[in-house]
């Protein structure tokens, strides 16, 4: 099976960072070594051997960024009513239920207020394992509310993206969330309240093409896949192989799209410094 797996990964780079767990062990996609899962857990899902960044779920992200693991979650009970009554091979509502059971979340973002190195902030953390972190009306609404709270309370805003883009099952309604959130960000911009966008693996489609690229600072984690179109769509369009490292955080930094690529363990101090700079 090994050759088959590698083949699959080559076609789907965005899927290559899933943690493959054989009980207590995991194989690292960066260095291909076997690592203890509890070592990985203890190290915020960063390979202790090579520094490869595995994905981090939304709750862990909040623990990483906010002081003493203490925050107040907002709008946790908001859930979609399935505007299109969408059905493909199975009903969207069924997909929602299984995503809700698997993650313990109502939808693909957790929004919260807490302190980051002593400073009150609002943080939105997207959950990639909830239908690919896709943005429908709940993600749109919760992030917009967070932005409005940030503007009203003059609290710095941090949004951590991990998303395949707009949620197809909510159709054009989900497309409109891009405009809704971006309009709210125009008001936050006007109010002079800082917004740091953190782009993690993967951030693509309508999320990149709206709030994720609109930070006062756009910061990415090392190796994160970031783009507008997914690599497969581009390959199919241009009918050629994509260059190595294409659409990775370092590629975007080189092309002027990011302010910095910051390793996960340095993210909190980096944000603390930056937000202090903007607000003091």
């Amino acid at each position: 099976m090994a050759w088959f797996r590698r083949e699959k990964q080559r076609i789907q780079p965005s899927d290559s960072t899933h943690i493959r767990t054989e009980g207590l062990w995991t194989k690292c996609d960066g260095c291909r070594q076997i690592i203890w899962k509890k070592d990985l857990d203890a190290n915020w899902n960063i390979c202790p051997k090579c520094g490869y960044h595995f994905r981090l779920d939304a709750r862990a992200r909040l623990r990483l960024l906010l002081d003493e693991d203490h925050y107040t979650e907002h709008d946790a009970g908001v859930e979609t009513t399935d505007p299109l009554q969408f059905v493909d091979l199975k009903p969207y509502q069924e997909r929602l239920r299984s995503a809700q059971q698997a993650t313990g979340l109502k939808d693909a973002v957790v929004t919260a207020e807490g302190k980051l190195a002593g400073q009150r902030v609002l943080v939105c953390a997207m959950e990639y394992s909830f239908i690919g972190g896709s943005m429908g009306c709940v993600v749109g609404e919760k992030i917009t509310r967070a932005i409005e709270r940030a503007a009203a309370g003059r609290l710095p805003l941090v949004i951590v993206s991990a998303s395949g883009g707009a949620r197809m099952m909510e159709g054009t309604v989900s497309l409109m969330q891009m405009a809704k959130i971006s309009a709210a960000l125009a008001q936050l911009d006007q109010a002079g309240v800082p917004f740091a966008s953190i782009l993690t693996d993967p951030t693509t489609g309508g999320v990149t093409a709206s709030f994720a690229m609109l930070g006062d600072l756009n910061i990415a984690e090392p190796g994160a896949l970031i783009g507008f179109a997914g690599p497969r769509v581009i390959e199919q369009t241009i009918r050629q192989k994509l260059p190595a490292g294409f659409q990775r955080a370092e590629f975007l930094l080189q092309h002027g799209m990011l302010d910095a690529v910051v390793p996960r363990l340095e993210l909190k101090p980096f944000l603390a410094r930056s937000l202090k700079f903007f607000t003091s």
Binding site: R167, A179, S210
Partner: protein, 319 residues
């Protein structure tokens, strides 16, 4: 073709099918009957105002469907095209310019796919790159500076997915347009004229009045793209087109479109000039309404308009 003519045409088709049915059966006859039945279904669907989503996708993509420069020709005077994003280049997939509309100076921005093969290649099939969106924003900010209202015409399969687009920041260009269009301090009238292809369409579709032609479509993903992801079969596009709810009739009740603009029977491509004439009074009314609104209120209303899109959720008490 008006609805009376359409009814006559459908009766004619029914008779022809009946006659052929009585004739000797065979491959050729059967094919012809099937073809006529197809035409009949289409005609009847249109007569009842319930053309299938897929048939509207076909109309929206028709190569002879009027595009931005056709509307410019029929509806605007003294159009002067202006080019370039002042940063990288000029994108022929997206046109912009100064024009006069019923005696008023306005700015026009829109996608241009091209009608024949040469034009389509030259215009990249109406799929803009970042420089296209940056040109659009530059010109819209020029409009704001000189207080000229803006008309945008939306008709694109999507923003171009290529290596160069990504290198130059396709996502950033679209995102910036979304944020800036929310606060451009002049009236913006958006018309979805053909294919509203996802982010590449939305990037020039934030405005005060959103109009949509009867047979236009507006979608987060192409039906083919949706079909290949969900059904893992791109031939299920017809089904996907229905499921995605992308027609003007679907989108008006969802609060995404303000007004549906009628087309000549059979679609805008059958009579581009007539299509423009049908659009003209709707554009004029929208502009008249919006020009009476003080700028602060205009911007507030625009914010509220998009703020309220997607109120499809319930709120349980947090567990």
């Amino acid at each position: 073709m008006d609805s009376e003519a359409a009814r006559k045409q459908s009766e004619h088709l029914e008779r022809e099918i009946e006659t052929l049915g009585k004739a000797s059966p065979g491959g050729e006859t059967d094919r012809r009957i099937e073809e006529l039945r197809g035409q009949l279904r289409q005609l009847q669907a249109e007569l009842s105002g319930h053309a299938s989503a897929w048939s509207r996708v076909q109309l929206a993509r028709h190569p002879q469907r009027p595009q931005t420069l056709d509307y410019v020709k029929h509806l605007f005077q003294d159009f002067t095209e202006i080019h370039g994003d002042r940063t990288f280049g000029d994108d022929p997939a997206l046109v912009a310019g100064m024009a006069w509309f019923h005696g008023r100076p306005v700015i026009v921005v829109g996608h241009q796919k091209g009608h024949d093969t040469t034009q389509k290649v030259q215009r990249n099939f109406g799929m803009p790159k970042p420089e296209g969106y940056r040109k659009a924003l530059r010109v819209m900010q020029l409009a704001a500076k000189f207080r000229r209202p803006i008309f945008t015409f939306v008709d694109t399969p999507g923003a171009y997915p290529g290596i160069d687009s990504e290198e130059r920041g396709q996502a950033e260009a679209i995102a910036r347009n979304l944020r800036e269009m929310a606060r451009i301090a002049v009236p913006i009238v958006v018309t979805i004229t053909g294919e509203g292809g996802s982010g590449g369409a939305l990037a020039i579709a934030v405005g005060d009045r959103i109009l949509m032609l009867e047979n236009a479509v507006y979608s987060v993903i192409s039906p083919e793209g949706c079909a290949s992801i969900t059904w893992r079969d791109s031939t299920k596009a017809e089904q996907a087109a229905e499921a995605l709810k992308i027609t003007a009739l679907d989108l008006k009740p969802l609060g995404i479109v303000d007004e549906i603009v009628p087309e000549p029977p059979g679609g805008a491509h059958t009579d581009p000039q007539k299509a423009a004439q049908l659009l003209d009074p709707v554009l004029e009314q929208a502009l008249r309404d919006l020009c009476q609104v003080p700028v602060n209120e205009l911007l507030q209303n625009r914010y509220q308009k998009f703020r309220l899109m997607g109120q499809f959720f319930r709120e349980a008490a947090a567990s």
